[in-house]
């Protein structure tokens, strides 16, 4: 697992690119694999949620996400967290550049 973030601020708008290492695994009867996919992805900035996504196995392996939010400054921090259907979670804090 792992979260990579590139986040740049222009004027007061932050453009955030996330790359999350996760299999987003579908059920596969042939290989006996059970589903494992991110169900909830949240990004917070200064106590406010700025990105709320509920993905499914329809999102590709190692999800790539790009989004923008207002009210950002260089040096601010964002908090990225996800939870998958097996209860596994990951969280990280990243700087806006």
């Amino acid at each position: 697992m792992g979260i990579k973030v590139i986040a740049k601020v222009k004027d007061d708008v932050a453009e955030v690119k996330l790359l999350i290492k996760h299999p987003m695994q579908m059920v596969n009867a042939k290989t006996n694999k059970t589903a494992k996919y991110i169900q909830e992805l949240l990004v917070k900035h200064g106590g406010k949620t700025v990105y709320t996504m509920y993905p499914s196995v329809g999102i590709s392996e190692n999800p790539f996400i790009k989004f923008m939010f207002k009210g950002a400054k260089v040096g601010d921090k964002i908090d990225v967290s996800w939870k998958d259907n097996t209860g596994e979670t990951e969280q990280g804090e990243f700087d806006l550049k």
């Binding site: 590709s60 989004f67 939010f69």
Partner: protein, 150 residues
Amino acid sequence: MQRRNFIKIGGFIALGVLSPSLYAGFLEDHAKAFTFKSAPEAMGDLYGQAKSAADSKVELKVPDIAENGGAVPVTISTTLPDVVEMSLFVEKNPYPLIAVWQINENTIPDFSTRIRMGETSNVVLVVKTKDGTLHTATKEVKVTVGGCGG
């Protein structure tokens, strides 16, 4: 009886005020939407009988042809005001509901991601505004090699 009505009304008001924080309960309320095998059923779970219509202010950017159905780039955006939610469907996928986004105060409704497509299909973007109406955009993507075999 009057007292009961008063409590009922009070409850509705409280629910209205608290609704932004109730977003945390989305999966409790709508996890089932992701399990439906047809797009209309999944949409029904999310939005009930709400009216929907194609809207030129809703933009869905997808390639005309995707060589790899395992990772099809998608950008969804809208210039509509008061957007509360966006959702994306691939009609012919085994589970058509791909994802749901909730729009917060500082969120700009313009997102990109990569999706799986099992075969050539319509992709449908639904944008819900504060008044409860649904605005949609639909595009077909031709898939050369499907991405739902994994």
